[in-house]
Symmetry: C2
Subunit: 361 residues, 2 copies
C-alpha cells in the first residue's frame, strides 16, 4: 500500500518518454526518487536519465502491471495517454496522479470547454461539430471565421483548420478526416498568457508568476516571466487556476493557456494536465521548478515556493535550430536545455534556452 508523503528511495512511474518525462525524471532524482518510464519508444529521451524503462504500448496490461509493481505513484507526461491505460492501472490498484477525470476532460476539446464554462470560467464561444449540418449551424450562430479542430488529439497546431466562409465547411471537415470536431469563435485578444499552477494532496495550491507566451504556426516560440501585468489580471488568472484545480480535485502541476482580451479580461484557451512548455522558464527562474513541483505534489510532499528569483525569457529550439548550440553556449546569460532527441525534424522541439536578466524594478 502506498502511503503519502512518499519517502526518498520510492519510485515514480511516468507514462511517456519525451522531454517532459526527461525533465520530470531529473527533478525526481534530485530529491532522491527513482524513476521508471513506460514508453513505446526505444532509446527515449527520458529513458536515458531514468533508473528503469519498460518499452511497451501504453495500454499493454502486462507492461502496466510491471510498472505498478515498481512504482508507488504513476503520472503521465502528455495528455494523449489512452484513457484505457489509467483504467487498467486503477484495476491494478495503482495510484495515479493527476486523476483520470482531469485527463479525460483535457483530452476532449468540447468536454474541456464545457467543464470550464460549467466552473464559471470563460472561453471563446464554441460548438461541438459532428457533421456538416452542425458546422453550418455554428457558422450561422457564431459567424465566420471559425477555427475547426479535432475534438481529440492534435497538438502544436496540428489537426486544425480555419473556416472562412460557409462554402469551405465541407472541405474543412474533409481536411480533418471527418473526425468529431469543435468549432471555435476567434479570440479577440491582445496577447497570450499562461499560468503554471500546482495542487498538493492536501488541497494546497501554489501558483507561479504569469507567463507571456508567443506562438508561431501553432507552436510555442517564446515565453517570458514574470509577465508584466496588472494586479487584477494576475488575480483573475490565479482565481481561474485555483477554480479549475479544485473542481477537478487535481493533484500535480497544470498548465493553463489563456487569452488576454483587449478589455483586460481572460479567456481560457486550453489546459494541459501536466507540466507545460510555458513553464520551462521555472527551471532557471524559481527555487523549485515546475518539474520538481509536480513530483512533490504527486508524492504528497509540501509544495515548494514559486516566487521568481530572476526574469527569464524561454525560447524553444525547433528542428535544426538546435545546431546553434555553439553560439548559445557562448552567451553568458543563456542556460541551455537539450532533450537528447536523435533526429531534428522540422518544427520538432529539440531543446530550449532560458535567457536570464535581473527582475524588473
Amino acid at each position: 500500500m502506498t502511503s503519502f508523503p512518499l519517502p526518498p528511495g520510492s519510485t515514480i512511474g511516468i507514462l511517456g518518454g519525451g522531454q517532459l518525462g526527461r525533465m520530470l525524471a531529473m527533478a525526481a532524482a534530485r530529491i532522491g526518487f527513482d524513476v521508471a518510464i513506460l514508453t513505446p519508444e526505444v532509446d527515449a529521451p527520458a529513458s536515458r536519465v531514468a533508473a528503469r524503462t519498460i518499452v511497451a504500448a501504453y495500454d499493454d496490461r502486462e507492461a502496466l502491471a510491471a510498472l505498478a509493481d515498481v512504482a508507488q505513484v504513476i503520472t503521465f507526461e502528455f495528455e494523449n495517454v489512452p484513457a484505457r491505460a489509467l483504467e487498467i492501472l486503477a484495476e491494478l490498484g495503482a495510484r495515479t496522479a493527476p486523476n483520470a477525470r482531469a485527463l479525460a476532460v483535457a483530452q476532449d476539446r468540447v468536454d474541456e470547454k464545457t467543464f470550464l464554462n460549467g466552473a464559471g470560467i470563460p472561453t471563446v464561444a464554441f460548438r461541438a461539430i459532428d457533421d456538416l449540418e452542425a458546422l453550418r449551424e455554428a457558422l450561422k450562430d457564431l459567424g465566420a471565421p471559425l477555427l475547426l479542430k479535432t475534438r481529440r488529439g492534435g497538438y502544436d497546431g496540428k489537426g486544425q483548420v480555419w473556416v472562412q466562409r460557409m462554402e469551405e465547411a465541407e472541405a474543412a471537415l474533409a481536411a480533418l478526416g471527418y473526425r468529431p470536431a469543435i468549432a471555435e469563435a476567434p479570440a479577440d485578444f491582445r496577447r497570450e498568457v499562461a499560468l503554471i499552477a500546482a495542487r498538493g494532496r492536501d488541497g494546497e495550491i501554489a501558483v507561479y508568476p504569469l507567463t507571456e507566451s508567443h506562438h508561431e504556426n501553432g507552436i510555442l516560440r517564446r515565453a517570458s516571466a514574470p509577465a508584466t501585468a496588472s494586479a487584477r489580471v494576475i488575480a483573475e488568472a490565479e482565481r481561474i487556476a485555483a477554480t479549475m484545480l479544485a473542481a477537478l480535485d487535481y493533484v500535480g502541476v497544470i498548465g493553463v493557456e489563456m487569452f488576454e482580451r483587449d478589455d483586460g479580461h481572460l479567456l481560457v484557451n486550453e489546459f494541459a494536465p501536466r507540466v507545460h512548455n510555458t513553464g520551462h522558464w521555472t527551471l532557471d527562474g524559481c527555487e523549485v521548478d515546475q518539474f520538481e513541483q509536480h513530483i512533490r505534489a504527486i508524492a504528497g510532499w509540501p509544495l515548494g515556493p514559486t516566487a521568481p528569483l530572476i526574469h527569464v525569457e524561454m525560447t524553444n529550439l525547433l528542428g535544426d535550430e538546435v545546431d546553434r548550440w555553439p553560439k548559445l553556449a557562448r552567451e553568458p546569460e543563456t542556460r541551455i536545455w537539450l532533450y537528447g532527441k536523435r533526429e531534428a525534424k522540422p518544427g520538432r522541439k529539440m531543446g530550449h534556452v532560458n535567457r536570464l536578466r535581473p527582475l524588473d524594478g
Copy 2:
C-alpha cells in the same frame, strides 16, 4: 576520432557511480549529452540517472574498452581511481580529462604538496614518512604535534592520526598500518575556505566565488558562498587556483581547499581533481553550476558564467540526518538534493541542502 567541442548527443564516460557522478550525469543530460558510468557497484546512485552503466572493476580492461567504445571523452568522479585505469584508457586511445598527471599528483599527499610548493604555492610544513626514523626526525624538525596521514587513499578524515609526543610515534605508524605517510605541521588558521575553478580545453579559466567551509570530525559539514573576504584574499585564492590549473595543464573543474591564516594569507590544504563538495552550493547559487562547468570543460565547450545569483549555505545530510526530509521539504528557503543511496550509514553523505538568501548588499 574525438574532436572538440563535442556536439550534443555525444556520450560522456564517468569512472565512479556516487553522488558526484550522479550530479555530473544530470548536468550532462541537461545540455544534451548521454552518460555512461563505469562502477564496481550494482545499482549505484549515478547509474539511475545515466543512459548506460558498465559494472566492473575500474582497471578491468574489457570494461574500459567497452566504455571507450561508447564515450567520446571520459572523466572520473573521485581521485582514488587506480592510475592503471587511465593508463589502459590511454593505451586504448581514449580521451580522458582531467589528465593522468593531475590525478597522480592529487593521489599522493607528498607529491601534492611537493607540486604545490614547486609552483610557488604555500602549504603547511611537511615530511614524507617511510619509517619510524623519519617520523622522529620530523618531530624534531617541525615540532609536535604533527598530523600523520597516509600518503594515498583516505578521505573524510579517515586514515589520519595526531602525534602529540615523540613517544606516540610508533603507535601512530601502527595505527596507519605502517603505510607510507606524510607528517604535516598544524595549520595556524582562522578559517577554512575553498575555491572551485575550471579550465577549458583552450586554457580559459573560470573561478567561482570563494566558499567558507566548516568541517566536523574531518567531514565537510557546511559551506557558504560567496564568503565574506577581502579583495586581497580573493585575489590570492584566484591566483593560486589559476597557477595550479596552468601548471597541471588541467581540463575540468578542480576543488582547492585552503586555510586562511591569522595574517590573512592562504595555505593550500589539498585539492581534488574533480567537482567538490564545497562547490555544491553552485547548484542553486550560479547560472552554470560546477557539474555543468566540468562537463562543458571536458567537452571543449566554452566555460559558463560563475557569478553568484544568490547567497547559499550548503549543509551536508550525513547518515540518518537524511530522515529530516519531511521538515526540510517545508522550508521555503531550502533546496533539497538527495543522492539515492540505499543505506544511511553513520557519517555517510546521503544528500545536502542549499539554503538560499539574497546576496549581501
